[in-house]
Protein backbone atom coordinates (compact mmCIF):
# COMPACT_ATOMS: atom_id res chain seq x y z
CA UNK A 1 0.00 0.00 0.00
CA UNK A 2 2.68 2.42 1.00
CA UNK A 3 5.46 2.87 -1.48
CA UNK A 4 8.40 4.80 -0.14
CA UNK A 5 10.83 6.94 -2.09
CA UNK A 6 14.04 5.06 -2.95
CA UNK A 7 16.07 7.21 -0.53
CA UNK A 8 13.80 6.19 2.31
CA UNK A 9 14.12 2.51 1.37
CA UNK A 10 16.80 2.06 4.00
CA UNK A 11 14.58 3.56 6.71
CA UNK A 12 11.85 1.19 5.58
CA UNK A 13 14.15 -1.85 5.78
CA UNK A 14 15.58 -0.75 9.12
CA UNK A 15 12.09 -0.34 10.61
CA UNK A 16 11.03 -3.82 9.48
CA UNK A 17 14.24 -5.45 10.76
CA UNK A 18 14.23 -3.77 14.19
CA UNK A 19 10.62 -4.39 15.28
CA UNK A 20 7.63 -6.60 14.63
CA UNK A 21 5.83 -6.22 11.32
CA UNK A 22 2.69 -4.60 12.71
CA UNK A 23 4.68 -2.17 14.80
CA UNK A 24 6.88 -1.22 11.86
CA UNK A 25 3.81 -0.72 9.72
CA UNK A 26 2.32 1.60 12.31
CA UNK A 27 5.52 3.61 12.76
CA UNK A 28 5.89 3.95 9.02
CA UNK A 29 2.33 5.22 8.67
CA UNK A 30 2.92 7.81 11.39
CA UNK A 31 6.16 8.90 9.71
CA UNK A 32 4.46 9.30 6.35
CA UNK A 33 1.60 11.21 7.95
CA UNK A 34 4.13 13.59 9.51
CA UNK A 35 5.90 14.04 6.19
CA UNK A 36 2.63 14.90 4.48
CA UNK A 37 1.66 17.28 7.28
CA UNK A 38 4.98 19.02 6.78
CA UNK A 39 4.42 19.19 3.02
CA UNK A 40 0.93 20.52 3.69
CA UNK A 41 2.02 23.38 5.93
CA UNK A 42 5.14 24.33 4.00
CA UNK A 43 3.34 24.23 0.65
CA UNK A 44 0.42 26.18 2.09
CA UNK A 45 2.59 28.93 3.50
CA UNK A 46 4.69 29.05 0.33
CA UNK A 47 1.60 29.33 -1.87
CA UNK A 48 0.20 32.16 0.24
CA UNK A 49 3.47 34.04 -0.20
CA UNK A 50 3.55 33.35 -3.94
CA UNK A 51 -0.03 34.54 -4.26
CA UNK A 52 0.77 37.79 -2.48
CA UNK A 53 3.86 38.48 -4.56
CA UNK A 54 2.14 37.58 -7.84
CA UNK A 55 -0.89 39.68 -6.93
CA UNK A 56 1.42 42.59 -6.19
CA UNK A 57 3.17 42.23 -9.53
CA UNK A 58 -0.14 42.13 -11.38
CA UNK A 59 -1.17 45.34 -9.65
CA UNK A 60 2.16 47.13 -10.19
CA UNK A 61 3.08 46.86 -6.54
CA UNK A 62 6.07 45.22 -4.89
CA UNK A 63 4.46 42.92 -2.33
CA UNK A 64 5.90 41.63 0.95
CA UNK A 65 9.69 41.84 0.74
CA UNK A 66 10.83 42.75 4.23
CA UNK A 67 10.71 39.63 6.38
CA UNK A 68 13.63 37.46 5.34
CA UNK A 69 15.14 37.41 1.86
CA UNK A 70 12.52 38.77 -0.56
CA UNK A 71 9.87 38.27 2.12
CA UNK A 72 10.31 34.50 2.27
CA UNK A 73 9.53 34.39 5.98
CA UNK A 74 6.53 36.70 5.76
CA UNK A 75 3.88 33.99 5.83
CA UNK A 76 5.80 32.15 8.57
CA UNK A 77 5.56 35.29 10.68
CA UNK A 78 1.87 35.61 9.84
CA UNK A 79 1.27 32.01 10.90
CA UNK A 80 3.08 32.63 14.20
CA UNK A 81 0.90 35.66 14.78
CA UNK A 82 -2.24 33.62 14.05
CA UNK A 83 -1.14 30.89 16.47
CA UNK A 84 -0.84 33.46 19.24
CA UNK A 85 -4.28 34.95 18.64
CA UNK A 86 -7.37 34.27 20.68
CA UNK A 87 -9.94 31.85 19.29
CA UNK A 88 -13.19 33.75 19.39
CA UNK A 89 -16.73 32.60 18.67
CA UNK A 90 -20.23 34.00 18.49
CA UNK A 91 -22.94 33.67 21.10
CA UNK A 92 -25.32 30.74 20.64
CA UNK A 93 -23.09 29.29 17.95
CA UNK A 94 -23.13 25.54 17.60
CA UNK A 95 -19.80 25.11 19.36
CA UNK A 96 -19.22 21.49 18.38
CA UNK A 97 -19.79 21.97 14.66
CA UNK A 98 -18.08 25.33 14.78
CA UNK A 99 -14.90 23.73 16.08
CA UNK A 100 -15.22 20.70 13.83
CA UNK A 101 -15.60 22.57 10.52
CA UNK A 102 -11.95 23.59 9.91
CA UNK A 103 -10.81 19.99 10.39
CA UNK A 104 -13.18 18.74 7.69
CA UNK A 105 -11.61 21.16 5.26
CA UNK A 106 -8.05 20.43 6.24
CA UNK A 107 -8.40 16.64 6.46
CA UNK A 108 -9.99 16.36 3.03
CA UNK A 109 -7.19 18.46 1.59
CA UNK A 110 -4.63 16.17 3.25
CA UNK A 111 -6.37 13.02 2.02
CA UNK A 112 -6.39 14.33 -1.53
CA UNK A 113 -2.68 15.08 -1.21
CA UNK A 114 -2.00 11.43 -0.34
CA UNK A 115 -2.88 10.01 -3.76
CA UNK A 116 -0.96 12.54 -5.84
CA UNK A 117 2.04 10.98 -7.59
CA UNK A 118 4.89 13.41 -6.92
CA UNK A 119 7.34 11.06 -8.60
CA UNK A 120 7.79 7.40 -9.52
CA UNK A 121 7.75 6.05 -5.96
CA UNK A 122 6.69 9.11 -4.00
CA UNK A 123 2.99 8.40 -3.72
CA UNK A 124 1.58 7.49 -0.34
CA UNK A 125 -1.56 5.77 -1.51
CA UNK A 126 -1.72 4.37 -5.04
CA UNK A 127 -5.38 3.33 -4.97
CA UNK A 128 -6.89 1.78 -8.10
CA UNK A 129 -9.79 4.26 -8.17
CA UNK A 130 -7.47 7.27 -7.80
CA UNK A 131 -9.38 9.85 -9.86
CA UNK A 132 -12.74 8.84 -8.39
CA UNK A 133 -11.24 9.10 -4.91
CA UNK A 134 -9.90 12.57 -5.64
CA UNK A 135 -13.22 13.84 -6.98
CA UNK A 136 -15.12 12.33 -4.06
CA UNK A 137 -12.72 13.72 -1.45
CA UNK A 138 -12.56 17.18 -2.93
CA UNK A 139 -16.34 17.49 -2.74
CA UNK A 140 -16.36 16.44 0.91
CA UNK A 141 -14.35 19.58 1.65
CA UNK A 142 -17.44 21.68 1.01
CA UNK A 143 -19.10 20.06 4.03
CA UNK A 144 -16.55 21.81 6.19
CA UNK A 145 -17.45 25.12 4.58
CA UNK A 146 -21.19 24.48 4.95
CA UNK A 147 -20.78 23.47 8.60
CA UNK A 148 -18.59 26.47 9.33
CA UNK A 149 -21.07 28.88 7.80
CA UNK A 150 -24.07 27.18 9.37
CA UNK A 151 -22.71 26.94 12.90
CA UNK A 152 -21.30 30.47 13.03
CA UNK A 153 -24.70 31.99 13.86
CA UNK A 154 -24.04 34.77 11.39
CA UNK A 155 -26.17 35.46 8.36
CA UNK A 156 -23.26 36.46 6.12
CA UNK A 157 -21.45 33.26 6.96
CA UNK A 158 -24.60 31.27 6.20
CA UNK A 159 -25.13 32.99 2.85
CA UNK A 160 -21.50 32.42 1.95
CA UNK A 161 -21.70 28.75 2.88
CA UNK A 162 -24.90 28.21 0.88
CA UNK A 163 -23.40 29.88 -2.17
CA UNK A 164 -20.39 27.65 -1.80
CA UNK A 165 -22.68 24.64 -1.72
CA UNK A 166 -24.51 25.71 -4.88
CA UNK A 167 -21.24 26.32 -6.63
CA UNK A 168 -19.59 23.07 -5.67
CA UNK A 169 -22.62 20.94 -6.57
CA UNK A 170 -22.75 22.56 -10.01
CA UNK A 171 -19.07 22.54 -10.85
CA UNK A 172 -18.43 19.01 -9.54
CA UNK A 173 -20.18 17.83 -12.71
CA UNK A 174 -17.79 19.65 -14.99
CA UNK A 175 -14.72 18.47 -13.10
CA UNK A 176 -15.91 14.89 -13.17
CA UNK A 177 -16.92 14.91 -16.82
CA UNK A 178 -13.76 16.66 -18.03
CA UNK A 179 -11.63 14.10 -16.19
CA UNK A 180 -13.85 11.33 -17.56
CA UNK A 181 -13.03 12.57 -21.05
CA UNK A 182 -9.38 11.85 -20.35
CA UNK A 183 -10.17 8.52 -18.69
CA UNK A 184 -11.47 7.41 -22.11
CA UNK A 185 -7.86 7.47 -23.35
CA UNK A 186 -6.17 6.00 -20.30
CA UNK A 187 -8.77 3.33 -19.58
CA UNK A 188 -7.78 3.35 -15.92
CA UNK A 189 -8.60 5.42 -12.86
CA UNK A 190 -5.34 4.53 -11.13
CA UNK A 191 -3.01 7.51 -11.14
CA UNK A 192 0.16 5.50 -11.66
CA UNK A 193 -1.49 3.83 -14.67
CA UNK A 194 -2.49 7.22 -16.05
CA UNK A 195 1.12 8.35 -15.81
CA UNK A 196 2.25 5.08 -17.46
CA UNK A 197 0.00 5.77 -20.49
CA UNK A 198 1.55 9.22 -20.87
CA UNK A 199 5.03 7.84 -21.53
CA UNK A 200 3.98 7.97 -25.21
CA UNK A 201 3.17 11.67 -25.00
CA UNK A 202 1.24 13.74 -22.50
CA UNK A 203 -2.50 13.25 -22.61
CA UNK A 204 -3.11 16.83 -23.76
CA UNK A 205 -1.05 15.95 -26.87
CA UNK A 206 -2.48 12.46 -27.25
CA UNK A 207 -6.06 13.67 -27.07
CA UNK A 208 -5.37 16.91 -29.01
CA UNK A 209 -8.55 19.01 -29.62
CA UNK A 210 -10.99 17.38 -27.16
CA UNK A 211 -8.21 17.17 -24.57
CA UNK A 212 -7.56 20.90 -24.84
CA UNK A 213 -11.28 21.63 -24.50
CA UNK A 214 -11.44 19.28 -21.51
CA UNK A 215 -8.44 21.04 -19.99
CA UNK A 216 -10.05 24.45 -20.38
CA UNK A 217 -13.29 23.21 -18.82
CA UNK A 218 -11.32 21.56 -16.04
CA UNK A 219 -9.43 24.75 -15.22
CA UNK A 220 -12.65 26.82 -15.12
CA UNK A 221 -14.44 24.27 -12.96
CA UNK A 222 -11.36 23.77 -10.80
CA UNK A 223 -11.11 27.49 -10.10
CA UNK A 224 -14.78 27.43 -9.13
CA UNK A 225 -14.21 24.37 -6.97
CA UNK A 226 -11.57 26.14 -4.88
CA UNK A 227 -13.87 29.16 -4.35
CA UNK A 228 -11.33 31.53 -5.84
CA UNK A 229 -12.03 34.64 -7.85
CA UNK A 230 -13.74 35.01 -10.32
CA UNK A 231 -15.86 32.38 -8.56
CA UNK A 232 -15.38 33.60 -4.99
CA UNK A 233 -19.09 33.93 -4.30
CA UNK A 234 -18.53 32.10 -1.03
CA UNK A 235 -16.32 34.82 0.40
CA UNK A 236 -17.25 37.84 -1.76
CA UNK A 237 -15.51 40.41 0.44
CA UNK A 238 -17.55 43.33 -0.83
CA UNK A 239 -20.88 41.63 -0.10
CA UNK A 240 -20.40 39.20 2.76
CA UNK A 241 -17.47 40.37 4.82
CA UNK A 242 -15.42 37.20 4.61
CA UNK A 243 -18.23 34.73 3.87
CA UNK A 244 -18.18 31.42 5.67
CA UNK A 245 -15.10 32.18 7.78
CA UNK A 246 -16.25 35.61 8.99
CA UNK A 247 -16.48 34.44 12.60
CA UNK A 248 -13.30 32.41 12.68
CA UNK A 249 -10.13 33.78 14.19
CA UNK A 250 -6.59 32.69 14.92
CA UNK A 251 -5.50 29.25 13.86
CA UNK A 252 -8.99 28.07 12.87
CA UNK A 253 -9.12 30.82 10.29
CA UNK A 254 -5.62 29.85 9.21
CA UNK A 255 -6.81 26.28 8.60
CA UNK A 256 -9.47 27.51 6.20
CA UNK A 257 -6.98 29.81 4.57
CA UNK A 258 -4.28 27.17 4.15
CA UNK A 259 -6.80 24.60 2.97
CA UNK A 260 -7.94 26.97 0.25
CA UNK A 261 -4.41 27.26 -1.07
CA UNK A 262 -3.72 23.54 -0.74
CA UNK A 263 -6.93 22.87 -2.65
CA UNK A 264 -5.66 25.15 -5.38
CA UNK A 265 -2.44 23.14 -5.46
CA UNK A 266 -4.43 19.90 -5.55
CA UNK A 267 -6.51 21.09 -8.50
CA UNK A 268 -3.29 22.03 -10.28
CA UNK A 269 -1.72 18.70 -9.32
CA UNK A 270 -4.66 16.71 -10.71
CA UNK A 271 -4.44 18.69 -13.94
CA UNK A 272 -0.70 18.00 -14.04
CA UNK A 273 -1.26 14.29 -13.54
CA UNK A 274 -4.10 13.89 -15.99
CA UNK A 275 -3.15 16.34 -18.75
CA UNK A 276 0.57 17.06 -18.47
CA UNK A 277 2.18 13.74 -17.64
CA UNK A 278 2.73 14.22 -13.88
CA UNK A 279 6.42 13.66 -13.11
CA UNK A 280 7.40 12.75 -16.68
CA UNK A 281 9.94 15.16 -18.12
CA UNK A 282 9.23 16.78 -21.49
CA UNK A 283 10.49 14.43 -24.27
CA UNK A 284 12.02 12.25 -21.56
CA UNK A 285 15.13 14.43 -21.18
CA UNK A 286 15.77 13.46 -17.56
CA UNK A 287 14.48 9.89 -17.72
CA UNK A 288 17.68 8.58 -16.14
CA UNK A 289 17.42 10.70 -12.97
CA UNK A 290 14.16 9.63 -11.29
CA UNK A 291 14.47 12.13 -8.41
CA UNK A 292 14.01 15.02 -10.88
CA UNK A 293 10.42 13.81 -11.28
CA UNK A 294 9.52 15.83 -8.19
CA UNK A 295 10.99 18.91 -9.83
CA UNK A 296 9.04 18.40 -13.06
CA UNK A 297 5.84 17.67 -11.18
CA UNK A 298 6.13 20.78 -9.02
CA UNK A 299 7.18 22.94 -11.97
CA UNK A 300 4.13 21.92 -13.97
CA UNK A 301 1.85 22.32 -10.98
CA UNK A 302 3.26 25.78 -10.23
CA UNK A 303 2.63 26.92 -13.80
CA UNK A 304 -1.00 25.88 -13.43
CA UNK A 305 -1.21 27.54 -10.01
CA UNK A 306 0.15 30.69 -11.62
CA UNK A 307 -2.55 30.41 -14.28
CA UNK A 308 -5.20 30.31 -11.56
CA UNK A 309 -3.65 33.36 -9.90
CA UNK A 310 -3.67 35.07 -13.27
CA UNK A 311 -7.42 34.35 -13.52
CA UNK A 312 -7.96 35.71 -10.04
CA UNK A 313 -6.27 39.03 -10.64
CA UNK A 314 -7.81 39.55 -14.08
CA UNK A 315 -11.46 38.61 -14.06
CA UNK A 316 -14.28 40.29 -12.14
CA UNK A 317 -16.50 38.20 -9.88
CA UNK A 318 -19.53 36.48 -11.43
CA UNK A 319 -23.05 36.96 -10.14
CA UNK A 320 -24.82 33.85 -8.85
CA UNK A 321 -27.08 33.61 -11.89
CA UNK A 322 -24.13 34.08 -14.25
CA UNK A 323 -22.28 31.40 -12.34
CA UNK A 324 -25.07 28.90 -12.83
CA UNK A 325 -25.63 29.94 -16.45
CA UNK A 326 -21.98 29.32 -17.21
CA UNK A 327 -22.11 25.85 -15.71
CA UNK A 328 -25.48 24.50 -16.80
CA UNK A 329 -25.87 26.21 -20.17
CA UNK A 330 -22.30 26.24 -21.41
CA UNK A 331 -19.81 24.00 -19.63
CA UNK A 332 -22.08 20.97 -19.14
CA UNK A 333 -23.41 20.66 -22.73
CA UNK A 334 -19.95 21.35 -24.13
CA UNK A 335 -18.53 18.71 -21.83
CA UNK A 336 -21.02 16.07 -22.91
CA UNK A 337 -20.35 16.89 -26.56
CA UNK A 338 -16.65 16.72 -25.87
CA UNK A 339 -16.98 13.23 -24.39
CA UNK A 340 -18.70 12.03 -27.57
CA UNK A 341 -15.94 13.53 -29.72
CA UNK A 342 -13.29 11.94 -27.50
CA UNK A 343 -15.06 8.58 -27.67
CA UNK A 344 -15.08 8.80 -31.48
CA UNK A 345 -11.40 9.67 -31.51
CA UNK A 346 -10.49 6.79 -29.22
CA UNK A 347 -12.70 4.42 -31.24
CA UNK A 348 -11.16 5.44 -34.58
CA UNK A 349 -7.72 5.47 -32.91
CA UNK A 350 -6.93 9.03 -33.97
CA UNK A 351 -4.77 9.50 -30.87
CA UNK A 352 -1.38 11.14 -31.44
CA UNK A 353 1.31 8.87 -29.99
CA UNK A 354 5.05 9.18 -30.30
Amino acid sequence: MIRALSITKSIHDWLYSSMSENMAHLVEMVLIALVYLAIFSVAGLFLVLIERRVAAWFQLRIGPNRVGFQGLLQTMADALKLVSKELTGTERADKFLYNLAPYFVIITALMALAVIPFTQDFQAFDINIGILFLIAISSIGVIGILLGGWSSNNKFALIGAMRSGVQTISYELSIGLSLLTMILITGSLQLSQIVEVQKNGWLIVQGHIPAIIAFMIYMIAGTAETNRAPFDMAEAESELGAGFHTEYSGMKFAYFFLAEFINMFIIAAIATTVFFGAWLSPFGITESIPILGVFWFLAKAMVLVFLMMWFRWTFPRLRVDQLLTLEWKYLLPLNLMNIVIMALIVWQNLIIRF
Binding site: L60, R61, F311
Partner: protein, 158 residues
Amino acid sequence: MSYFSDIFKGIKTLLTGMSVTGKYFLTSRKGAITQQYPDNRDTLKMFDRFRGEVIMPHDEENRHRCTGCQKCEIACPNGTIEIIWDRGIDEETGKKKKKIDKFVYHLSMCTMCGLCIDVCPTDAIKWGQNFENSVYDRTALTRVLNKPGSKLMPGVED
Protein backbone atom coordinates in the same frame (compact mmCIF):
# COMPACT_ATOMS: atom_id res chain seq x y z
CA MET B 1 -25.68 29.61 -34.12
CA SER B 2 -25.12 32.42 -31.68
CA TYR B 3 -24.40 29.81 -28.95
CA PHE B 4 -20.99 28.89 -30.31
CA SER B 5 -20.10 32.39 -31.44
CA ASP B 6 -20.90 33.54 -27.90
CA ILE B 7 -18.47 30.99 -26.53
CA PHE B 8 -15.70 32.04 -28.90
CA LYS B 9 -16.37 35.69 -28.22
CA GLY B 10 -16.27 34.97 -24.50
CA ILE B 11 -12.95 33.16 -24.74
CA LYS B 12 -11.54 35.93 -26.90
CA THR B 13 -12.49 38.69 -24.47
CA LEU B 14 -11.16 36.70 -21.53
CA LEU B 15 -7.85 36.24 -23.32
CA THR B 16 -7.75 39.96 -24.11
CA GLY B 17 -8.15 40.72 -20.42
CA MET B 18 -5.48 38.23 -19.50
CA SER B 19 -3.04 39.71 -22.01
CA VAL B 20 -3.55 43.15 -20.47
CA THR B 21 -2.82 41.95 -16.95
CA GLY B 22 -0.03 39.76 -18.27
CA LYS B 23 1.69 42.80 -19.73
CA TYR B 24 1.39 44.56 -16.38
CA PHE B 25 2.85 41.50 -14.69
CA LEU B 26 5.88 41.48 -16.98
CA THR B 27 6.57 45.20 -16.61
CA SER B 28 5.91 45.27 -12.86
CA ARG B 29 9.61 45.38 -12.03
CA LYS B 30 10.14 48.73 -13.74
CA GLY B 31 6.66 50.16 -13.34
CA ALA B 32 5.95 49.44 -9.68
CA ILE B 33 4.33 52.48 -8.17
CA THR B 34 5.09 51.45 -4.60
CA GLN B 35 7.55 53.74 -2.82
CA GLN B 36 9.70 51.95 -0.24
CA TYR B 37 9.46 55.07 1.87
CA PRO B 38 11.97 55.23 4.70
CA ASP B 39 14.61 53.64 2.47
CA ASN B 40 14.31 56.10 -0.40
CA ARG B 41 13.73 59.18 1.72
CA ASP B 42 16.48 61.12 -0.07
CA THR B 43 15.24 60.47 -3.59
CA LEU B 44 11.50 60.37 -2.94
CA LYS B 45 9.61 62.88 -5.04
CA MET B 46 5.94 63.39 -4.35
CA PHE B 47 3.39 63.89 -7.12
CA ASP B 48 2.78 67.42 -8.37
CA ARG B 49 -0.77 67.53 -7.12
CA PHE B 50 0.11 66.17 -3.68
CA ARG B 51 -1.28 68.40 -0.88
CA GLY B 52 1.21 68.37 1.96
CA GLU B 53 0.97 71.78 3.59
CA VAL B 54 0.50 75.39 2.55
CA ILE B 55 3.74 77.21 1.85
CA MET B 56 4.59 80.74 0.80
CA PRO B 57 7.44 80.84 -1.73
CA HIS B 58 10.03 83.59 -1.32
CA ASP B 59 12.52 84.72 -3.94
CA GLU B 60 16.28 85.22 -3.42
CA GLU B 61 15.82 88.72 -2.08
CA ASN B 62 13.44 87.49 0.63
CA ARG B 63 10.32 88.80 -1.08
CA HIS B 64 6.92 87.15 -1.18
CA ARG B 65 3.79 87.86 -3.21
CA CYS B 66 1.26 88.28 -0.39
CA THR B 67 -0.53 91.63 -0.39
CA GLY B 68 -2.45 90.90 2.80
CA CYS B 69 -5.86 90.97 1.14
CA GLN B 70 -7.12 88.33 3.61
CA LYS B 71 -9.16 86.51 0.98
CA CYS B 72 -7.60 83.25 2.09
CA GLU B 73 -8.49 83.92 5.70
CA ILE B 74 -12.13 84.48 4.71
CA ALA B 75 -12.17 81.44 2.43
CA CYS B 76 -10.77 79.08 5.04
CA PRO B 77 -13.65 77.03 6.50
CA ASN B 78 -11.99 76.28 9.82
CA GLY B 79 -9.86 79.26 10.75
CA THR B 80 -6.54 77.75 9.80
CA ILE B 81 -5.13 80.99 8.42
CA GLU B 82 -4.71 84.10 10.54
CA ILE B 83 -3.23 87.20 8.98
CA ILE B 84 -1.82 89.79 11.34
CA TRP B 85 -1.50 92.96 9.29
CA ASP B 86 -0.36 96.48 9.71
CA ARG B 87 -0.31 99.73 7.80
CA GLY B 88 3.05 101.01 6.67
CA ILE B 89 4.42 103.75 4.47
CA ASP B 90 5.02 102.57 0.93
CA GLU B 91 8.56 103.42 -0.10
CA GLU B 92 7.79 104.31 -3.71
CA THR B 93 4.58 106.32 -3.42
CA GLY B 94 4.85 107.49 0.16
CA LYS B 95 1.25 106.56 0.84
CA LYS B 96 0.00 104.48 3.77
CA LYS B 97 -0.61 100.91 2.66
CA LYS B 98 -1.75 97.57 4.11
CA LYS B 99 0.98 94.98 4.51
CA ILE B 100 1.27 91.67 6.30
CA ASP B 101 3.08 91.40 9.56
CA LYS B 102 2.63 87.67 10.17
CA PHE B 103 0.93 85.08 8.02
CA VAL B 104 0.01 82.49 10.69
CA TYR B 105 -0.87 79.03 9.45
CA HIS B 106 -2.18 76.38 11.87
CA LEU B 107 -1.31 73.09 10.16
CA SER B 108 -3.03 71.19 12.96
CA MET B 109 -6.39 72.59 11.87
CA CYS B 110 -5.88 72.43 8.11
CA THR B 111 -7.98 69.93 6.15
CA MET B 112 -6.04 70.46 2.90
CA CYS B 113 -9.20 71.60 1.12
CA GLY B 114 -7.20 74.06 -0.99
CA LEU B 115 -9.77 76.88 -0.97
CA CYS B 116 -7.16 79.42 0.19
CA ILE B 117 -4.86 78.56 -2.70
CA ASP B 118 -7.73 78.69 -5.21
CA VAL B 119 -8.86 82.06 -3.97
CA CYS B 120 -5.47 83.78 -3.75
CA PRO B 121 -5.39 86.52 -6.43
CA THR B 122 -1.60 86.85 -6.47
CA ASP B 123 -0.55 83.19 -6.18
CA ALA B 124 1.27 84.00 -2.96
CA ILE B 125 0.60 80.60 -1.35
CA LYS B 126 1.09 77.17 -2.86
CA TRP B 127 0.97 73.47 -1.95
CA GLY B 128 4.16 72.17 -0.36
CA GLN B 129 5.34 68.59 -0.87
CA ASN B 130 6.41 67.93 2.70
CA PHE B 131 4.43 65.32 4.58
CA GLU B 132 6.65 64.48 7.53
CA ASN B 133 4.65 66.56 9.96
CA SER B 134 4.78 64.56 13.17
CA VAL B 135 5.98 66.58 16.16
CA TYR B 136 5.97 66.09 19.93
CA ASP B 137 4.15 69.34 20.68
CA ARG B 138 1.29 70.63 18.62
CA THR B 139 2.38 74.23 18.99
CA ALA B 140 5.15 73.32 16.57
CA LEU B 141 2.45 72.96 13.93
CA THR B 142 1.58 76.64 14.10
CA ARG B 143 3.79 78.26 11.51
CA VAL B 144 4.49 81.79 10.35
CA LEU B 145 4.73 81.47 6.58
CA ASN B 146 6.37 84.79 5.73
CA LYS B 147 10.04 84.85 6.65
CA PRO B 148 11.22 87.52 9.09
CA GLY B 149 12.04 90.78 7.35
CA SER B 150 10.41 89.73 4.11
CA LYS B 151 8.80 92.30 1.84
CA LEU B 152 6.19 92.35 -0.88
CA MET B 153 7.50 91.64 -4.33
CA PRO B 154 7.16 94.78 -6.47
CA GLY B 155 4.65 94.68 -9.29
CA VAL B 156 2.38 92.08 -7.70
CA GLU B 157 -0.43 94.52 -7.11
CA ASP B 158 -0.46 95.75 -10.70
